[in-house]
């Protein structure tokens, strides 16, 4: 899909807005709610997630002919990376998107989370280049 710079910005802005609003109203940006999900005290967020996956699976597979490639290949970083991410998610209550939602909501402690995420991303890129450099399916 060829898009001009302006189109890219406008479309990303709209989608970002929709994502931020949705995550906030769902409560995905609340440490309280996320923590209750991980302790299985409240299954609402789990159901939300499962429901979203079901909807996406149905619509994309039934109604979209040429799907973009998933680019998700099974490389050696999948297992350790996901375990590390899960631990971070439980500690901060945020995935890479919800830290930003928290900041928007006025939960300013999440500025530290966001800085941490930026640093972690940068750090992994250095480590990957130096020590791992297996094929991750993306050329970034």
């Amino acid at each position: 899909m060829k898009l001009t710079a302006l189109q890219q910005h406008v479309r990303f802005a709209l989608l970002g807005l929709l994502m931020g609003i949705s995550l906030s109203f769902i409560g995905f940006s609340s440490y309280n709610e996320v923590h209750k999900m991980f302790l299985f005290q409240d299954l609402r967020l789990l159901l939300t997630f499962a429901g979203a996956v079901a909807i996406v699976m149905l619509v994309l597979n039934l109604f979209v002919a040429d799907l973009p490639p998933t680019k998700k290949i099974f490389h050696p970083g999948i297992v350790p990376g996901s375990v590390i991410f899960g631990a971070g998610w439980a500690i901060t209550g945020s995935c890479p998107s919800t830290a930003l939602v928290q900041i928007g909501e006025g939960q300013l402690a999440a500025v530290f989370t966001a800085f941490g995420i930026g640093f972690g991303v940068w750090l992994y890129r250095q480590v990957h280049r130096r020590f791992f450099s297996w094929d991750t399916g993306s050329c970034g």
Partner: protein, 208 residues
């Protein structure tokens, strides 16, 4: 319970978002990928500079390539390949302008508007409140002030590092990958949920 959307309302919103993303941008949703793009802005700028320079000096570029080829194989062999009989070297072909993918600044716009979306939602629902912590539960588990902030910095680093190492997060693996039944995404999603559950129980059990 009615403070937040019910599960099916949330599912509809997140599902619609993931589908819109595919239609509007022709790629799968993945927020950690946007982080990666932003954090590699320097590399991207360098790469673009190089391809712009190669494009601007396409003629010089081709001459240099041809000169190197002649130096490597000798001009006779090349003439032979071209049909011999003193035929001229082939005319230069136009070099295509470098293809530009999604710019890192567009990814930055995406992240900024996620925050703005959070702001608007909090404003309309009356939850907007400037605070320096993440609420009572987080404070009970991790303290307040610098103790809490450094925990968040460390935890955020795990999130950033882990999502890059695992090539995806809740949106990229969880929503996009699982709905496409990509094996790596199924494994990743199961693992980061399991790891988060284990960490949460651990934190509840070990810390006062």
């Amino acid at each position: 319970m009615n403070e937040y959307w019910s599960w099916w309302q949330g599912a509809l919103a997140l599902g619609a978002l993931t589908i819109f993303f595919v239609f509007m941008l022709g790629r799968m949703l993945g927020v950690s990928g946007s982080w990666a793009s932003i954090m590699s802005w320097r590399e991207q700028r360098l790469r673009q500079k190089i391809s712009m320079a190669m494009h601007a000096n396409a003629a010089a570029m081709q001459d240099a390539l041809m000169a190197a080829t002649v130096a490597e194989f000798g001009s006779e062999k090349i003439q032979l390949l071209l049909g011999g009989h003193g035929m001229a070297l082939p005319p230069r072909t136009a070099v295509q302008a470098p293809a530009t993918g999604l710019r890192w600044t567009a990814h930055l716009t995406f992240l900024l508007f996620i925050a703005i979306g959070g702001f608007l939602a909090a404003l309309t629902s009356g939850h907007l409140e400037i605070r320096l912590d993440l609420g009572a539960t987080h404070t009970r588990l991790f303290g307040t002030g610098w103790q809490e902030w450094l925990t968040l910095l460390a935890g955020g680093t795990l999130v950033g590092f882990g999502t890059q190492m695992g090539s995806g997060c809740t949106s990229g693996h969880g929503l996009s990958g699982v709905s496409r039944l990509a094996p790596a995404s199924l494994a990743a999603t199961a693992l980061f949920f399991a790891s988060a559950v284990a960490t949460s129980f651990l934190v509840e059990g070990l810390l006062p």
